[in-house]
């Protein structure tokens, strides 16, 4: 476990007058699961968007494997080995599950216009590449139990399955750091339990480091190594799950002030 695997240092971004993220810093160890919690609108997804390059932070540094990645284009960041899922599913709806996952292999494949348009037999370069990568994708389909959805258009799949396809697509990129934005949202408790095991598997067996945004405290407690709580863009507590959960600041953010509750009753 090296400590300089991934770190965010004094990250800040403002939209108009709103400080969406305000001096947030944290460090993630390799092969650990790190969760960010906080009430709605606290700035969790904004942090994700800064990391994956969709937003340019106003100040602060994001360092991945000793290299600064702040402000790089999203596809550059993906090529460094950071994949993510979205809170509101962003799948390629008119592609099949297989094709969605094959797109996850984009940075590992290199078929271009010429070889891609001129293959005509099994041994052609483009065909060979397709076959090898389809085999790899099949492993992910097996891992996430997506066989039944394999050749279906993802637009017609149920919500929970779509979430899994998105997870699978991120895994197909073979990331070293995986950002999961509320993976269990909209899942029933059974699906959520499966997800807990898969996330744990991904961390332990594939050796992927995971950064998680999650509202379900049960899930966070079960799998996180460390938790960061933020509110109004500012960090309000960091530590192991039990510590953060009982932190008075965090309780205040979620439940409000104790005095005010007394005042009402």
């Amino acid at each position: 476990m090296d400590s300089d695997f991934f770190s965010v240092d004094n990250l800040a971004i403002t939209f108009g007058g709103l400080r969406a993220v305000d001096r947030v810093s944290f460090t993630i160890n390799r092969r650990s699961i790190f969760s960010i919690i906080g009430p709605n609108g606290a700035g969790k997804t904004t942090i994700f968007n800064c990391i994956s390059g969709l937003y340019k932070p106003d100040s602060g540094k994001i360092i991945f494997k000793g290299e600064e990645i702040t402000g790089l284009k999203p596809h550059r960041i993906a090529m460094k080995g950071i994949a993510r899922t979205f809170q509101n599913i962003e799948l390629f709806l008119r592609m099949t599950t297989m094709e969605n996952l094959m797109l996850g292999r984009h940075i590992h494949t290199k078929t271009g216009v010429w070889s891609g348009s001129t293959f005509f037999r099994r041994g052609s370069k483009a065909a060979r590449e397709e076959i090898t990568h389809r085999e790899q994708v099949e492993r992910i389909i097996d891992l996430l139990d997506l066989q039944s959805a394999r050749d279906q258009f993802v637009g017609g799949l149920p919500y929970g399955t779509q979430k899994l396809v998105e997870l699978g697509r991120a895994l197909a990129l073979e990331p070293e750091l995986l950002l999961l934005d509320e993976p269990s949202a909209g899942m029933n408790s059974e699906e959520r339990q499966d997800l807990t095991f898969w996330v744990k598997d991904i961390q332990e067996e594939l050796g992927v480091t995971i950064l998680l945004i999650e509202h379900n405290m049960q899930l966070v407690r079960d799998i996180s190594d460390r938790v960061l709580a933020i509110n109004f863009g500012r960090p309000i507590g960091e530590g192991i799950p039990e510590e953060v959960q009982n932190d008075p600041e965090v309780l205040k953010a979620y439940l409000g002030e104790e005095e005010s509750i007394d005042a009402v009753s």
Binding site: H75, L91, E99, T111, S117, A126, E130, I131
Partner: protein, 356 residues
């Protein structure tokens, strides 16, 4: 029949013996067709093939990558004029001239692709529309392009396809048929293959969710401009062939309406389907050529043109063919939004379980 045994079958063009059989039938009938039908119909088939190339090219951009273009008549014009000019002025053999013209068109496609990085929907439509109009204006003003008078396509010879000069001339529509159909065939197959592999998947990904495509490592700047370039390449080739099909080109044959026609080929055929593009190109070309003759119908033709002169036209000029054309498009989009391809899929599903 639906069981796949290995991954190659996912991307294979013909994945069963039955398909191979029909494929060979298709090739054979394409070869003997021009010896069975009269000259006018060969011309018609050639015209269809040219339009199929455009439709496939435009579908790559509109149907697969999700970027609109109302300027494809511009690329078509570039293809036609550059092919003719590089044969008459640079004395290039036809195939080389055609390739050069296609690359020039692709270059302009790339240039036009740059604003597409920032523009979406109607704004992109306006930008491409401007391009299409500007191209014909520029060509019309420039003496080298023959100005408003246009250019005549030089005589084509068999040797002239590969070298300059030669004596065996390709004049008749039947001889042109054996030039145009193979090119259309190769380009269509290539497009189909391309859409099944990495580049095509990146295009579709950009169409369905460009944010997700970006975060999955797809360089959207590169692939959007690439889609424009490939699309323009196809249209350029079609333009070059068109010049020799018609024999004479002038700027006014590449008007804004032509861009609209191209777009309707794509939409009627089915967005995001190569097979749909083939059907769309063929059907709509047939329709356009037939509608030109609607006024020649006994009785009905007179009534229709009198009707359109009286009620539908500002200029007093009969425009019944455009009206019927527009009506058919409206009906297709209303009742079959997936175009002819959607109709084909539904028919196939219906017959699969027939007679139950």
């Amino acid at each position: 029949m639906d069981m796949k045994r290995d991954y190659y079958e996912d991307i294979q063009l013909l994945d069963s013996k039955v398909l191979w059989f029909w494929f060979l039938i298709l090739i054979a009938s394409l070869i003997i067709l021009p010896f069975l039908i009269p000259n006018y119909y060969i011309y018609m088939v050639n015209y269809m093939a040219v339009n199929v190339i455009v439709t496939v090219g435009l579908n790559i951009l509109v149907g697969y990558t999700g970027q609109i273009s109302l300027g494809h008549a511009g690329f078509f014009a570039i293809g036609a004029f550059i092919t003719v000019l590089s044969m008459t002025n640079l004395h290039l053999p036809f195939l080389l001239a055609l390739l050069l013209a296609a690359f020039v068109a692709a270059f302009f496609g790339f240039i036009l692709g740059l604003p597409a990085l920032r523009l979406k929907g109607p704004y992109l439509a306006i930008a491409t529309l401007g391009f299409g109009l500007a191209i014909t204006q520029v060509i019309g003003r420039w003496q080298i392009f023959g100005g408003r008078m246009g250019l005549e396509a030089p005589g084509l010879t068999l040797q002239g396809l590969f070298f300059s000069g030669g004596s065996y001339t390709l004049e008749s529509d039947r001889q042109l048929y054996f030039l145009i159909i193979p090119i259309a065939f190769v380009l269509t197959t290539a497009a189909r293959n391309l859409m099944k592999t990495r580049v095509g998947r990146a295009f579709i990904a950009i169409r369905d969710s460009d944010i997700a495509a970006e975060t999955m490592g797809v360089n959207t700047v590169y692939y959007k401009t690439l889609a424009f370039a490939i699309s323009a390449f196809y249209t350029g080739i079609a333009g070059g062939l068109y010049a020799f099909l018609i024999g004479f080109i002038n700027p006014s044959s590449f008007s804004f309406i032509l861009s609209i026609y191209f777009l309707t080929f794509v939409i009627v055929g089915g967005l995001g389907s190569i097979f749909g593009s083939i059907m769309g190109g063929i059907t709509m070309t047939w329709l356009i050529l037939k509608l030109d003759k609607v006024q020649e119908l006994p009785y009905l033709g007179d009534i229709l043109s009198a009707f359109s002169e009286r009620w539908m036209s500002v200029t007093g000029f009969p425009n019944i063919s455009s009206i019927i054309f527009g009506l058919i498009i409206i009906l297709i989009v209303l009742f079959e939004p997936l175009g002819l391809y959607g109709f084909w899929i539904r028919t196939k599903i219906y017959w699969k379980t027939w007679p139950f």
